[in-house]
């Protein structure tokens, strides 16, 4: 009975997901498209959870729906007047893309069918589960991300770092949002500290349960982004130089740890067993800060401008309206 109920639930969300995807791609109005995309991301997070991948569900909800949504909303605010979706793209072009996507889908489905047929033999995932106790953490996902395949994670941090460099290269900081409604500000005042504490929690539990640096960093950035969206002058809390240090600290700590381990144990990032748990936590803490700084900067669209020193920094600025 229970199984049957869950199955029908799964089928239902699957169809809603497909419907949302279709609507997101085909809506003419940008604002509606962005809203649908955020809803799509949240539903996808539910599906990851149903597939028993809670780490992915967390990341999808925070980054895929939350941060990406905020980025899209901000971009939309600046360009919505000039741009409207698919106004100049011809019908022929759209159907060409649709046909190509459909062909790719059929091909992939066919390939996946054959791939699943032969998926036996020694597999990496089983090896990971067996070896996790040696990694210093008990959560296999964290063991893979921070120990077995830590080098991948290091390069992924570099990807995030580079993305911010690209944002910085493309332009200066965008106009802030104006001050929000009082109720909204009051809510954010409650929410932001909770987000910051939750971020710390996600970082800590990563060792034995779903969570970790990416989710924690994104959560921390979400707190800043929320504040910025309601007109709190976040950039007055951050100056150019401290942002630069925050951006590099994650990769810096990661790489230096790797080199020290190379000198001690002969392999890059080969943690000494008794130190593994502590080193992983250290790296994750530094990475959390860098990810948060990177996502915040990507949202702001550029380095915070140097502020006049006289203004009180942390308090919500009541005298100025939100134009920078």
């Amino acid at each position: 009975m229970n199984d049957w109920l869950l199955l029908s639930f799964d089928i239902l969300i699957l169809f809603i997901l497909l419907g949302l995807a279709w609507l997101t791609c085909n809506t003419k109005e940008i604002k509606r498209g962005v809203t649908l995309f955020v809803a799509f991301g949240l539903l996808l997070a539910v599906i990851w959870a149903r597939l028993k991948a809670p780490d992915l569900a967390l990341a999808e909800a925070i980054i895929g729906a939350g941060i990406s949504g905020a980025l899209l909303l901000k971009a939309m605010r600046d360009y919505t007047e000039q741009t409207s979706l698919s106004s100049e793209t011809s019908r022929f072009y759209v159907w060409g893309i649709n046909a190509a996507s459909l062909a790719l889908f059929v091909l992939l489905a066919w390939g996946l069918w054959h791939a699943l047929e032969r998926s036996d033999g020694v597999r990496l995932a089983e090896n990971v589960l067996i070896t996790t106790p040696e990694s210093g953490v008990s959560h296999p996902v964290t063991a893979v991300l921070l120990n077995f395949r830590a080098y991948d994670t290091l390069l992924e941090l570099a990807v995030v770092f580079t993305a911010v460099l690209v944002v910085l290269a493309m332009g200066t900081k965008q106009r802030d949002f104006g001050k929000g409604e009082p109720i909204l500000i009051a809510m954010v005042r409650w929410l932001a500290p909770i987000l910051i504490v939750t971020s710390g929690y996600l970082l800590w539990v990563g060792a034995h349960a779903p969570g970790g640096a990416f989710q924690a960093g994104a959560m921390l950035a979400a707190a800043f982004i929320l504040m910025s969206m309601t007109g709190v002058r976040v950039d007055s809390m951050l100056n150019d130089s401290s942002m630069r240090w925050l951006l590099v600290i994650g990769i810096g700590v990661f790489t230096i740890t790797g080199i020290v381990m190379l000198l001690i144990n002969g392999h890059f990032l080969a943690y000494s067993k008794e130190l593994a748990k502590m080193l992983i936590l250290l790296i994750e803490a530094a990475a959390t800060l860098s990810i948060a700084a990177a996502l915040t900067l990507a949202y702001l669209g550029g380095m915070p401008k140097p502020q006049q020193k006289t203004q009180s920094a942390v308090k919500i600025d009541k005298t100025e309206e939100g134009t920078s």
Partner: protein
């Protein structure tokens, strides 16, 4: 110990230098130059190490049996790495003089060094998923560097480049996912032992190849390249044309012949060769018609990459062993020569563009008198691009032609001859205008720090690789997984 871990240092040094150059923007140039020189030394040590003791592996994290990621360097990757570091170091010297705006310079170094990390990490990677990550890092840093140019066209080209790059990586990732589903391994050496000719592996290889073809701008997927490479700042154009597109070709060769050899179909390799041949003809023809120097250089890249793809059906026609290795060494020689010659050409174009204020080929009269060394470098680069002796590409093309004869695929010879004639056409056209009587460029001077790096690169392409490449054939035979080591 430092020498034995050269490959780790080659990744760690530019990575840390990138971070430092962001934190200390005013010292960016010094940090980047120091990092490049250290990297160049490490890359020479790496080649020496591989030459002495064959292909090397480094298990990151100390995990074995495919649990962790493995760095693997053989002759081919070692030579590509030393090529990358030499080009990057020379272009770095040039860039320190090229960027006059301190703000732009500060933005340039962190991205530039990240691109170096991505290039080396890609060339050293022995893991399928890790390769995807390096491709993303490479694509993103290249986009950022392209956008550093002031003009609007460059930013538009960068955005289009971003879209193309993401499409390529995504298609590549689909292939990786299929392989992981079917075989449960990501390590390239382990995959090579289990992969079979069956639909999942065939589709995966097709997807990964398609992704890489988009990134390496093989005809007809070259449409994004001329705009991006012609509008980027000169040092960036040099690296994009010499290195960034080329490592995708490297990866195709690596995957095809080292990992997926049981899956390969002669028809597919023939098709890649045909596309390469079309690229040679079309790219050279467009280069001949181009009105601007940098656009000509960009189209010439489309053509030169075409030659590298013609090698694929030829390499495939040889059985595993010494003959195949010889063809592979010729491929390497041609790729290396092009990297040095094209970066020299782009750097010189940058000098002309900055000094003359434009790079319209028809109005280059008097340049030879005003910038004699720069025009000399362009001529040297031309020698290598056409494939005249003593350049490395003369030897490369010679072997290309002789293997075409050996394997009975004579039709490629027609294409190679046509490409070389057209290349002679577009290079002599520039020199003709540069030596022309017109005085429009006036009296200008170029700094030594701009001209010397380009000269070194051009001399490497023409003289060093031409006369000093004999050892490469042994090297590839000794230290190549294709040799069965």
């Amino acid at each position: 110990m430092m020498i034995n871990d050269a490959i780790v240092w080659l990744i760690a040094i530019p990575l840390l230098a990138s971070l430092l150059s962001l934190v200390f923007p005013k010292k960016g140039t010094a940090i980047a130059i120091a990092g490049s020189i250290l990297g160049l030394l490490a890359s020479v040590a790496l080649v020496y190490q591989v030459y002495q003791s064959g292909p090397i592996t480094h298990e990151l994290g100390g995990w074995k049996d495919g649990l962790g990621i493995v760095l693997r360097v053989d002759a081919m990757s070692a030579l590509f790495i030393v090529m990358t570091m030499l080009v990057v170091t020379m272009v770095g010297f040039y860039a320190s003089a090229y960027f006059t705006d301190a703000h732009k310079k500060a933005q340039f170094w962190p991205l530039w060094l990240m691109m170096v990390v991505a290039l080396i990490a890609l060339l050293a990677s022995g893991d399928l998923f890790n390769l995807y990550v390096t491709l993303e890092l490479l694509g993103l840093s290249a986009v950022g560097l392209t956008a550093l140019s002031d003009n609007r066209a460059a930013v538009q080209a960068a955005i289009r480049y971003l879209g193309i790059g993401l499409l390529g990586s995504l298609v590549f990732l689909m292939g990786v996912a299929l392989i992981y589903t079917a075989y449960g391994v990501l390590d390239l050496a382990m995959l090579a032992t289990v992969v079979e000719a069956e639909p999942a592996a065939q589709l995966a290889l097709a997807l990964m190849t398609a992704g890489l073809l988009i990134k390496s701008a093989l005809f007809p997927m070259h449409f994004w390249l001329p705009a991006a490479h012609a509008n980027a700042p000169a040092p960036v154009s040099a690296a994009l044309s010499a290195l960034v597109v080329k490592v995708s070709v490297y990866l195709i060769i690596r995957l095809w012949f080292d990992v997926f050899s049981p899956v390969l179909q002669p028809t597919a390799s023939f098709m890649l060769g045909v596309l390469g041949a079309l690229a040679v003809v079309w790219g050279s023809w467009q280069a001949l018609r181009a009105e601007r120097l940098k656009l000509m250089a960009a189209y010439s890249t489309v053509a030169q990459l075409g030659y590298l793809f013609i090698f694929i059906p030829l390499v495939m026609a040889f059985p595993v062993g010494e003959e195949r290795n010889t063809a592979l060494a010729a491929f390497l020689l041609l790729a290396l020569t092009h990297a040095f010659a094209k970066s020299a050409l782009f750097l010189s174009s940058g000098v002309v563009l900055q000094r003359a204020g434009h790079d319209r080929i028809a109005e280059l009269g008097g340049t030879a008198r005003a910038l004699p060394l720069t025009i000399f470098v362009i001529a040297l680069a031309g020698v290598a691009l056409i494939g005249l002796p003593p350049s490395g590409s003369f030897l490369g093309k010679w072997y290309l032609i002789s293997s075409a004869v050996q394997t009975g695929q004579w039709w490629w010879i027609v294409v190679i001859a046509m490409g070389s004639l057209l290349a002679a056409g577009y290079m002599f056209r520039i020199l003709g205008h540069a030596f022309g009587p017109d005085e429009s460029i006036g009296k200008v001077m170029a700094k030594g720090s701009e001209e010397i790096p380009a000269l070194i690169l051009a001399l490497t392409a023409t003289v060093v690789l031409g006369f000093g490449s004999a050892w490469m054939w042994d090297f590839v035979n000794l230290a190549s997984p294709l040799a069965g080591n």
